[in-house]
């Protein structure tokens, strides 16, 4: 099952339940890829016209698909059989926010830009898709212009023009019908001065901030600088939609395709079948090099059953995540199975929000006491152990530009069980030598209660008394910890949270959780209500930065946020995948949340 709250600017952890089933729901699209130690030298350029470049291995090894392409092959034909434990939120490109759904969108949706078909870190780069080149902007990055390639067609044979792209964006403004996706970015940047109600309420109206001087040119006039605009144009949210085929709320039942596959049938909660789109032209597409004739997605609600099917090679992949922790030992113990498993980071950081609005945590030293006393090792064990995640040294996950593996401002001891001496020192510093009492927020399902029990026991070692403030997962992020007022009212001093960026840039990761101007009630993602002028300033700089400056600013931003001691990073999430040995051209793509790049996968038996 899926579901959960998805937020502006990124994705909080959807459910703290069912151990690693969480990562099935992980809706991040953050930068991911290999852990630094596994990074291989890049080889080849991107955008080749045949199979994607990148280091490739002819045999398969454990983690082979994390930073390389496994079993490269030109063989075509066959059906890719995917399974998922829960259905997508929507196939309407404007209304989907699940990460695995975004990966599936690559089958039948093309946008102006797209994520490079490369493994690992290279997959977080955005490259032109429908556009002939990346967007050209003015100096302060408020006006962006794109030119379309020629010969582009929808699956119904009609040409794709700049007006179709504009219409796709216009739909986002009909928020009472089109909702559920990350439309807030587009609404925030493209709402004209007089407002715009969308094409349904205002059929003769026009979104004046998007101009289409001719069929192959489109210009966006933003209300503020946005250096990452090419990334927004890579999301399915900005995909073209033909107005004549727009069935509004029903569009997600069978969207028109601009990609190499199109819908044959969709039975919600049961099965989706895609077949090849005869109107898609390979010569216009440098991202997709499909090999199979058909792709099926079957919903298997029983995850243990699904793992069994996958491990017996009767299906090809879990589309929405990895295998259960209980299934991992058998894979790790069997070398023939382990060679087809991958254990990458997902781009999600699991952390504890420490609220500076709740006494005595208004005093930074008291917050730091929690940072030092925290037992990250225990927490990690509960979340699936080594295969479930890596201990996090800082908030920015690996390979979001700015990540510094050597930056560990609050070390929690040599074995990550906590530095109690330092913690007690901080307690004395903040005037609470015997500890203090705070409530802890967590979701009341799955492993939430276990995590609470662990934190409670571990912080008690220095006299910090933690009481429980659980809530249902359906409103945890919206009205429980997403309401600054509620945090104060319930004395919530610490809260379990997880976060992944919507697109892999420092701004994409930090804006909603760290900018003072992002604080709202309810639906807040800046849980500790951080409002640090230095942090706000760097975020503002990032909206105007050139790509060459991004990494450096990202590093500064990470350090500036950590200096406030409001976000205690605990672990960088990992997923444990298993792939059917018959699959070819298979690699994990960082741009789509480190899921396999389904559109490029083939089979070695042609079946």
């Amino acid at each position: 099952m899926s579901g959960g709250r998805r937020q502006i600017g990124g994705h909080p952890e959807e459910k703290v339940d069912q151990s690693m089933a969480i990562t099935r729901r992980a809706t991040s699209i953050a930068a991911v890829g290999a852990v630094a130690a596994l990074a291989l030298a890049a080889c080849g350029g991107s955008g080749s016209s045949s199979t994607p470049s990148g280091s490739s291995s002819s045999g398969s090894t454990f983690n082979g698909a994390v930073d390389g392409i496994v079993n490269p092959s030109d063989k075509t034909g066959g059906t890719l059989q995917l399974i998922a434990s829960g259905d997508v939120d929507s196939y309407d490109p404007a209304r989907t926010y699940y990460a695995y759904s975004w990966d599936l969108q690559r089958l039948f949706t093309r946008s102006l830009m797209g994520f490079a078909p490369e493994p690992g870190t290279k997959g977080t780069a955005v490259v032109p898709d429908l556009a002939s080149a990346a967007g050209v902007s003015n100096a302060d990055k408020t006006v962006w212009t794109y030119k379309l390639k020629s010969g582009l067609k929808f699956s119904d044979g009609t040409p794709i023009t700049s007006k179709d792209i504009k219409y796709g964006i216009e739909r986002l403004f009909a928020t009472d019908v089109i909702n559920g996706g990350p439309s807030s970015y587009y609404l925030g940047l493209l709402t004209p001065k007089g407002g715009y109600k969308g094409p349904y309420a205002d059929p003769t109206g026009d979104l004046s901030t998007v101009k289409t001087p001719d069929d192959s040119t489109i210009e966006f006039d933003l209300s503020s600088s946005f250096a990452d605009f090419n990334y927004l144009m890579a999301l399915p949210t900005s995909a073209p939609v033909p107005k004549a085929a727009d069935t509004k709320a029903d569009y997600g039942k069978k969207p028109v395709s601009s990609g190499p596959f199109m819908f044959q049938s969709y039975t919600p909660n049961k099965e989706t079948i895609w077949v090849r789109n005869p109107n898609w032209d390979q010569s216009t597409d440098t991202i997709r090099h499909p090999k199979v004739d058909q792709i099926t997605l079957t919903i298997v609600s029983n995850q243990a059953d699904g793992d069994k099917r996958l491990l017996s090679n009767s299906v090809d992949l879990w589309a929405d995540g990895g295998i259960l922790p209980a299934s991992r030992p058998q894979v790790l113990a069997d070398p023939t199975k382990k060679a087809y498993a991958d254990n990458p980071t997902t781009g999600f950081t699991r952390y504890i929000a420490v609220m500076q609005t709740v006494a005595p945590l208004t005093n930074q030293a008291c917050r730091e006491a929690i940072f030092y006393a925290f037992n990250k090792s225990d927490y990690r064990k509960i979340r699936g152990g080594e295969t479930g995640g890596d201990i996090a040294n800082t908030m920015t996950p690996p390979l979001i530009p700015g990540y510094d593996a050597n930056f560990n401002p609050y070390p929690s001891g040599p074995d990550n069980t906590g530095d109690l001496t330092m913690a007690k020192q901080k307690l004395t510093e903040c005037g609470q030598p015997n500890g203090f009492s705070v409530a802890m927020a967590y979701t009341n399902t799955g492993i939430g209660p276990q995590l609470f029990a662990s934190v409670q026991a571990n912080l008690a070692r220095v006299g910090i008394h933690v009481t429980s403030a659980p809530s249902d997962s359906s409103n945890y992020y919206s009205t429980w910890i997403g309401s600054p007022k509620n945090i104060i009212a319930k004395n919530i001093g610490i809260a379990i949270a997880g976060w992944g960026a919507d697109f892999p840039t420092p701004y994409g990761f930090w804006q909603s959780i760290a900018n003072g101007n992002a604080i709202v009630d309810p639906g807040n993602s800046n849980y500790p209500s951080l409002n640090d002028p230095k942090v706000n300033g760097i975020l503002s700089q990032l909206t105007k930065a050139d790509p060459s400056q991004t990494a450096d600013l990202g590093g500064q931003l990470d350090k500036a946020v950590m200096a406030n001691a409001v976000y205690l990073p605990v672990q960088f999430d990992k997923t444990f995948y298993y792939r059917n040995p018959r699959l070819t051209n298979i690699y994990l793509n960082g741009g789509v949340g480190n899921y396999y790049d389904y559109v490029n996968i083939g089979t070695n038996d042609g079946k």
Binding site: A249, N269, E271, N302, D305, K308, P522, G523
Partner: protein, 335 residues
Amino acid sequence: MFRYIVRRLIGAVFVVFIISLVTFSLQYLAQHVGGGSPAYLFLGKAPSAAQVKAFEKQWGLDQPFTTQYVNYIKGIFTGRTLGDGTPGSDRACPAPCLGYSFQYQAPVTDLIKTAFPVTFSLAIGAAVIWLISGVSIGVLSALKKGSLADRSAMVVALAGVSLPVYFTGLILLYVFVYSLHWLPPPQWVEFTTSPIEWAQNLILPWITIAFGTAALYARFTRANMLETMNEDYIRTATAKGLPRRTVIGKHALRSALTPVITIFGLDLGLLLGGAILTEKTFSLPGLGYLTINAIARSDLQVVLGITIVAAVFIVIANLVVDVVYGLVDPRVRFS
């Protein structure tokens, strides 16, 4: 008899009405007190307070309780159009309108219509299996009371009653699908698409449900048979020289089985409301699966709709059972 049925029907309607009122109140409370507004389902990302207000106004969720409830009940009989008339935002909900799911963006009735055939197939097949096997084993056990067969049957029955459905289901999957490969991994195939595949995919879920229920029926039938066999009239019939087959088949069975009819009706009625555990274990998209998903995402309109539908099934089952009982057992007088 006719008057009896009419009276019972009126009573049934009243019971369903009360259930709808209670369930609707709970859903209303969940929305207003528990922070479970459908706005969060529909608007997806954490919406602002203003957006939530606008949403609730558009869908009439800010109206007083009585207005909302009356509209809901009216909708069941006449259908409704939800929304405030803004172009593009109207949602038609034809009769019987059991509410609108903001998660699936569809009338609840449509969701139930799609899911019901799955649950119905599951229930009917399992019911046939458990009734036949449970009653036969119970009768045979009673007739051969104290024998090895009887004792073994009752031990197996004890296991069936004690083992949880998800355990039985997983064991069956492991044995028949993954070890022996006698059956394919289960998925829902419509009867109209292929009756053979339909049955093939349902055989394991049928057995899973039937195992536990048949066990109950076996024990229950056995007890009833034993009691009936001790009745005076049975002794009289035997003394009169009637063949054993006639004594058992014509006289004893009839009165021993009437209580079985009662519980069968109730069990079937309950099952038609959705077999949550079995459906989830075997990936069958029926009412139970729909319910559990709706609960997990707080899509309370779906839960409300299914609760009312399930209540109707149980109430009707109750009524049918009572009427049949009266027909079968002449000692029962309708009063």
